[in-house]
Subunit: 156 residues, 2 copies
C-alpha cells in the first residue's frame, strides 16, 4: 500500500508546473447519453447526420469534453486539495472532434499563481487544461482560475 | 395546432435581438446525478459540506448550469436553425449558486453577426446566454460564437 498523497495547498502550485493524467477511454454509449440529455444536435447523436456535418462523423458534444476534463482534473489532484471552487472559465476551445473509442490524456499546466489581495487564507491558481487524444491532437482546451486555500491559512 | 416556426438562418439574426426561454425547474436529484458523474466536489454532493463551503449550501456544478443553458438554447431555437456548431466558448461566469428547486430562465442576446470572409454560405453569430433564477439573479453567463448557414447558401 502506497502512502496517500499529501493534500495540495496554494503554496504547492507554481507557474510552469505540468501534471498529466489518463488515459481515459470514451465510449460511444456515453457520448450518446450525454448528447441526448444536454446537446441533442444530430451531429452528436446520429452517424449519418454526423458524416454530413462539419465533424465528418459522430463526435461528442464539446460540453461533454469539458465535463470529462473537469472530472479528470478532480480525480488527478483537485479533490485532494484545498480548492474552494471557481468563478468561471476563461476560454474554451473545441479544436478536434472527440470520437467514440478515443482515449484522452489531460495535461494540466499552471499558468499563474497569485495570493489574494484581501484574504491571506486564499490564493488564485490559473490552470490550463488540455485534453489530448491518442494521436496527440488537442481536442479541447480551457483555462480555469481556481481559488485555493493557503497552507498558512489552514494552520490552527 | 399552430404552424411550425420557420427555420432560422444566419440572415435572421441581428445584433441586439433578445429571445427568452423557460422557466426550467432544476431538481435536487439531477444536481446530485450530474455532480456524481462529472464534478464530485463535496459542495455539489453533500449538504453539510456545502453549508461550510463558499456556496453556503448545496448547489449545482457550474458545468451543469452550462449544459442546462446549452439545452435550453437548443430547444429554444438552435435545433430549428442552420447551425453548424461552434469552435468554443468565449467566457463562462458562475455568478450565483444554482440551488435545488430553482427555476431558470434563459435570455439569449445576439451580440454580433458577421458573414464569413471566405465562405459565402456561412456566417458567425455571437450569442450571450444568461441563465437567470426565479429571483431575477444571473446564475451563469457565457458567450458562444455560433456558425450558421446562410439562407442564400441554402438555395438550390
Amino acid at each position: 500500500m502506497s502512502a496517500p498523497m499529501p493534500k495540495l495547498y496554494f503554496e504547492d502550485f507554481a507557474a510552469g508546473q505540468v501534471r498529466k493524467f489518463g488515459p481515459r477511454p470514451v465510449t460511444r454509449e456515453e457520448i450518446l447519453t450525454f448528447a441526448a440529455e444536454f446537446d441533442p444536435q444530430p451531429m452528436h447523436l446520429d452517424d449519418e447526420a454526423a458524416r454530413n456535418s462539419m465533424l465528418g462523423g459522430l463526435a461528442a458534444s464539446g460540453w461533454h469534453s469539458c465535463c470529462i476534463a473537469m472530472r479528470m482534473m478532480l480525480d488527478g489532484f483537485l479533490l485532494n486539495s484545498s480548492s474552494m471552487g471557481s468563478g468561471g472559465i476563461e476560454e474554451v476551445k473545441w479544436l478536434a472532434p472527440l470520437r467514440p473509442g478515443d482515449a484522452l490524456t489531460l495535461r494540466a499546466t499552471v499558468v499563474q499563481t497569485r495570493p489574494s489581495r484581501s484574504k491571506p487564507q486564499l490564493g488564485l491558481v490559473t490552470i490550463l487544461l488540455e485534453l489530448i487524444n491518442q494521436a496527440g491532437a488537442p481536442v479541447t482546451t480551457l483555462q480555469a482560475p481556481l481559488m485555493l486555500g493557503t497552507r498558512a491559512g489552514a494552520q490552527p
